[in-house]
Symmetry: C5
Subunit: 360 residues, 5 copies
Amino acid sequence: MTPRQRQRLIYRRRAPVGAPPGTLVADTNASPTAIRLTSISEEGATEKTAATVDDIRAALDSGGRVWVDVTGLADIETISAIGSLFSIDPLALEDVVNTNQRPKVDGYDTHALVVMHMFDGTSGHSKEQVSIVFDKKHVVTFQERPGDCLDPVRKRLAVPHGRFAKRGAAYLVYAILDTILDAYFPMLERIGEHLEEIEDEIAADPDPLDVKRLHSLKRELLIIKRALWPTREMLSALTREEFQLVPRDVARFLRDTYDHAVQLIEMVETYRELATGLYDLYLSSVSTRMNEVMKVLTIVATIFIPLSFLAGVWGMNFNPDASPWNMPELGAYYGYPAALASMLVVGLGLLAFFRWKRWM
Amino acid sequence: MTPRQRQRLIYRRRAPVGAPPGTLVADTNASPTAIRLTSISEEGATEKTAATVDDIRAALDSGGRVWVDVTGLADIETISAIGSLFSIDPLALEDVVNTNQRPKVDGYDTHALVVMHMFDGTSGHSKEQVSIVFDKKHVVTFQERPGDCLDPVRKRLAVPHGRFAKRGAAYLVYAILDTILDAYFPMLERIGEHLEEIEDEIAADPDPLDVKRLHSLKRELLIIKRALWPTREMLSALTREEFQLVPRDVARFLRDTYDHAVQLIEMVETYRELATGLYDLYLSSVSTRMNEVMKVLTIVATIFIPLSFLAGVWGMNFNPDASPWNMPELGAYYGYPAALASMLVVGLGLLAFFRWKRWM
Amino acid sequence: MTPRQRQRLIYRRRAPVGAPPGTLVADTNASPTAIRLTSISEEGATEKTAATVDDIRAALDSGGRVWVDVTGLADIETISAIGSLFSIDPLALEDVVNTNQRPKVDGYDTHALVVMHMFDGTSGHSKEQVSIVFDKKHVVTFQERPGDCLDPVRKRLAVPHGRFAKRGAAYLVYAILDTILDAYFPMLERIGEHLEEIEDEIAADPDPLDVKRLHSLKRELLIIKRALWPTREMLSALTREEFQLVPRDVARFLRDTYDHAVQLIEMVETYRELATGLYDLYLSSVSTRMNEVMKVLTIVATIFIPLSFLAGVWGMNFNPDASPWNMPELGAYYGYPAALASMLVVGLGLLAFFRWKRWM
Amino acid sequence: MTPRQRQRLIYRRRAPVGAPPGTLVADTNASPTAIRLTSISEEGATEKTAATVDDIRAALDSGGRVWVDVTGLADIETISAIGSLFSIDPLALEDVVNTNQRPKVDGYDTHALVVMHMFDGTSGHSKEQVSIVFDKKHVVTFQERPGDCLDPVRKRLAVPHGRFAKRGAAYLVYAILDTILDAYFPMLERIGEHLEEIEDEIAADPDPLDVKRLHSLKRELLIIKRALWPTREMLSALTREEFQLVPRDVARFLRDTYDHAVQLIEMVETYRELATGLYDLYLSSVSTRMNEVMKVLTIVATIFIPLSFLAGVWGMNFNPDASPWNMPELGAYYGYPAALASMLVVGLGLLAFFRWKRWM
Amino acid sequence: MTPRQRQRLIYRRRAPVGAPPGTLVADTNASPTAIRLTSISEEGATEKTAATVDDIRAALDSGGRVWVDVTGLADIETISAIGSLFSIDPLALEDVVNTNQRPKVDGYDTHALVVMHMFDGTSGHSKEQVSIVFDKKHVVTFQERPGDCLDPVRKRLAVPHGRFAKRGAAYLVYAILDTILDAYFPMLERIGEHLEEIEDEIAADPDPLDVKRLHSLKRELLIIKRALWPTREMLSALTREEFQLVPRDVARFLRDTYDHAVQLIEMVETYRELATGLYDLYLSSVSTRMNEVMKVLTIVATIFIPLSFLAGVWGMNFNPDASPWNMPELGAYYGYPAALASMLVVGLGLLAFFRWKRWM
């Protein structure tokens, strides 16, 4: 895994320390800004890519409902202009541009800001902040990068006389949030499949690579967990009765989305616990295997070391001619067979001892 | 343990990402749908297996109380038809079909949806979602697979002038929930017995297999825990006074079921803690055993390595004839016995050292 | 520790799965039922062991206050009869017979059920469920086995004009609960003493047996913890003002009992944490000791292996007569002393290296 | 560390199991009782050591305000007499004598009991229960042993026209509690210094003794933690508006003491986490060091074992005269140098292999 | 890391144990006191460094708004004088001087004390307590050491007709708090970068140094966590409606600061969990590497030890002339090749065994 491919864990703030509130500073790595303008009407939505701020102004002046989808946050000027068009609070715009926000909902006088994290399959499941500003009529979304999972929403918008035409902005916001959250499921399923693979591998043949893969999955689960817990709170806040911008019938759908968030958190926690269990299983498998190897060394060494000593003794050069005490066995008639026999006895004795001690 | 036999940990959602709420999509692995229709009356219930939607409609038109038990969720059309007959909310029906719901209760205008997990002994204790929709009069249950633990309820229903005849739908729901929860007890007892077996084995002779069995028991306990915690919440919600569909006298029985859920959670937590303790015990047993083996190697090697060195020295071929300094001991009268004696002294000295250091 | 002596961790439910609420089924291992009837009056209590249901009925008819102490739960008929005499709710009786209840208090219309766990010194501190049913006047206790720690209560009851005569049933219930809870203290003190013993042993000479003893103490603490946490809740519920059966002056004593429960929980938690710390201490002591042993092997082996190699070289049989290049050192005048000296130099050099590396 | 010096972890209750509430039984190890009577007036307090119960009665009869400081709890009679003089509730007196109470505050009709733990520098920081009974006018303190940290309070009391003269009993109680809590700081600072010492030692040269010291510090922190958590609750209860015996201006000072308790808890938690981190650091340092040692063994052994084998081969006694196939190399002209060279090649090859594998 | 460079973990209280509340005692290591007086007006602020208490009095008498920034807490007299000028509560002043306070806000009658921890880049990110006392008009800040991160605030103050001129003291307090909190971000980013570095290193080549660095990062994170948790509470308390000194429009900005605190806590928790994961990864990497090394030893030793034994046997000096049984193989025609061949067979056989066992 190269550092490139890893999910970013280092958060960066762009505005210099001590800047006044509402200061907008673009990230140096931000993608170029592009606008997709969707005008919503009874006849189905019409979409204009590469729209300009003037297009939006014209659409607003004509009294229609719009969804402005801004991709890439490099162009601070355009973002400020859109902010002015929809009278977005400067603090909300600052959170849009500083893309390290936790998922949250901030209510302002006439509008609200919802921040969510999108793990988009189109770009290798890397995290992206999606900020959604909406009032009773219009929705503005800000994404960090081009490419998202919202095409099903766009298709459903295009259907004439669909649900979107009849309902207000809150239903569109619900559809966007639900779709982004739905995209967590395949990602988690992939992680779950990896975990089961690793489980099978560890059971069959534990490999140091398994630990690295486990570590990287736990890292991913950590990031997803950090995204999901505040998402649950955010969805719960959106469905509360005090929240005026969301009508009761949409809140009912959002409660379903909230259920999905709880289900996802459950999955993440289950997977995290499973990963920890697998780590323990790996450690004990490896140590079991190591123990087996060590036992063989122990047994072979412990049997042959005394035998080698005996061979060494009878290989000494004491001069039998100098004295009858000097290695008389070397000249004995059955000296060699007796020596071999004694070695055999010692070796078998040690083997028997190991068996008796149940070390084999 | 083959992947087949393992409890599934990978959750899958069926509806495509971004589908509108209430979309019903059958799981490709879903069992074929079968309906068992039970008409409840003062004279005891009559049961019709392999019933059709028309049978249900007829029973409803005749004004009787029914329990519709749907097994297998492959036939979306039939399920939708049943949903229409009982005016079940589309969101509730979606949860019935997407069988990864957590246990929960969702109240709708005239009816409620209760989701619970059944670990059915008849199919090897694998998890199955049971969804129960009920209003004041009727009960509809949806099971993932044929085979369940509800036969005692069916027998009691068949008794003429029994409790079921006099009480409404809520009492039947209570009986179903209580029976499903009761079936957790033998499953947990089996796990407890396995744990005690493993405890005895680890105490007697720790085996790497024990860790694998522990891991698989912890995995099962994890799944059961995930099923029980929300079940407790669900039962607590059902017994609350605000919940209109459950009369006070049934709520009183449900509080007993709630007590059982708490007891089960307690068992699960105790077993999980015990499993962790057993894992520690295993590790320390194995390392104790390994240490013993290693000590023998150490002692044997440490004693014989210096002795072999001595034998090696006296096995060198320096020529005693070339100089009086060259290995004169080889020609000494008591050279060999002295050499053996010195080896004995060194060996016994090392043994004594080890004993003194308490390494034996 | 034989399985016999271990605290039971496997819970069993007796009533078959799906039985209607209130079904009484005796445990096959239940002790035979015996009744001890205590009639309480101003002149002190009179006790009748081996009483019958008729005795109780007579006592009740005479208008006196009674404490019925039932030991052994094998005789379902008798228990039902007592239940009828005191109009005990069927659900309460079911909990009395299914002796796996958590400590709890259940309020019924005219009476209440208190469940508590007794660890009775008379039977080796094994767990026993004590169920106490009481109304304003009478107390019925159900114990699993003969033998308990309630004799001090019985003695105080026998005193004429004592506190018991003046106060109602609640004070007797308080005395029973307080006495049962008091009996936890000596049990925990024993565990604390064992822990301090193990601590001393590990500090002096760690032994694999210590881990087994720690495991068994942690197991006991786990069971006691599971008994104490709900006991605290139960006592707190009994002292609440809403609880009508307990007058304010008795609630004041019960708050003292509650304090004891908190103190006991504190002890259990302290002991559990201490046991975990001891386990870590054991592991590090053992690994320290193992490391010492391994270091000696390493040093001895590392020093003598090169020396043995040298002796092996000079023990080779290359023929010096065949060529002046062939082992001329063997015929050198100071060959042998030089060889020994070079071995000494190598050996001491390695020793110095080890010392320099601080490995000794 | 001898068992003597260790903080006691074994709690003991004195009153026999099942005794009626309010029974006073002295601990067999209790210190002899001594009374120090302080009469508080506008002109500064006057102190009488070795006072008797009659002295107290006289002081009370004269209408003055007193602080009765009882040291040693052996003399139950005297303690009961003092209890009667100040009409102390029997349950409160029982808690005074049974010195295993958690820190707490118990409100009675006219007075309150505050229990706190004093870790007194004068007796080696061993734990001591201080019980404080006070009403609007008088304060009675009970200490387990002579020697305490309250001398600064006594000095400030002796100052004429000081704060104590003007304020009631609650201010004196505040001063006592604050002083006892202040004495926790030097004790924790000492622990913190020990931890930093151990940290330096582990970084430089990990020693098994460090683990024993860590264990003993964690044990101390465990005891202090158990004392501080309920102390915080106790202080919070004292400052609550419902608590009538403490006027608002004193509650303000007590809130400051409460802040200190929170600060102390923070310190304890930080130290506990640090100790755990140090334990991990120790383990990894030791295993790093062990690994180094083992690597040297491995490399030396792995290089010399094959070489010794070669030397052994050429040391075999096959008779070259019997056949031209029998060890002709022994008689070759360059046999010996070639043998040495081949050994050198094998040795260097193995070294190169280890370097290439980065095992050195 | 020298002890000097480490963040201090040892807390010290200065006031002697038992001192009356409000006693001010300077820390012996406190920096000398210097005052920077900023007069705030519509025309922008004017700043006077090295101001005296008289300068402050003059500024106050002229009715202007001031920010008094006190650096260094050695001069108790000056601090007391400033306290008197702004009628600061003695308890608040005590907290200012005892620089071990947790972040908190204390409300007094006319003013409030906010305590916060500054990790100032200018002095190597070591912790420093900043105490802020403010009323409706004036702000007094106390810092432990010279050097801070507040220069951006000072610059914005100097701008004529800026926001500061129009808003009251609370806005200045907000700007100070927000700037101090902003300075946590670069510090945490640095830690995050270190963690990713260590992650790369462990993956490539685990080094014992990594553990020491991890330990030191975890230590830093512990200190930052201890600073952030109460900071969040403090900010939450400041934004509550009951808090009169903070107008609603400033509370809105403070809620943004509160969001940053939550974000920082999230970062700290993520980093702590990551550090733990890295520690596990390090351990398993090291043990994997060690296992590899040990396996080579095992295999080499296990193969050559039996071969050396064989060489030893044929190196024995039994006299073939003494008996036909004595080592006849030494004189056999193919004795030597057969011996070498048998060694080859044994060696290859063992190798094959290891391969078959998958130990290579």
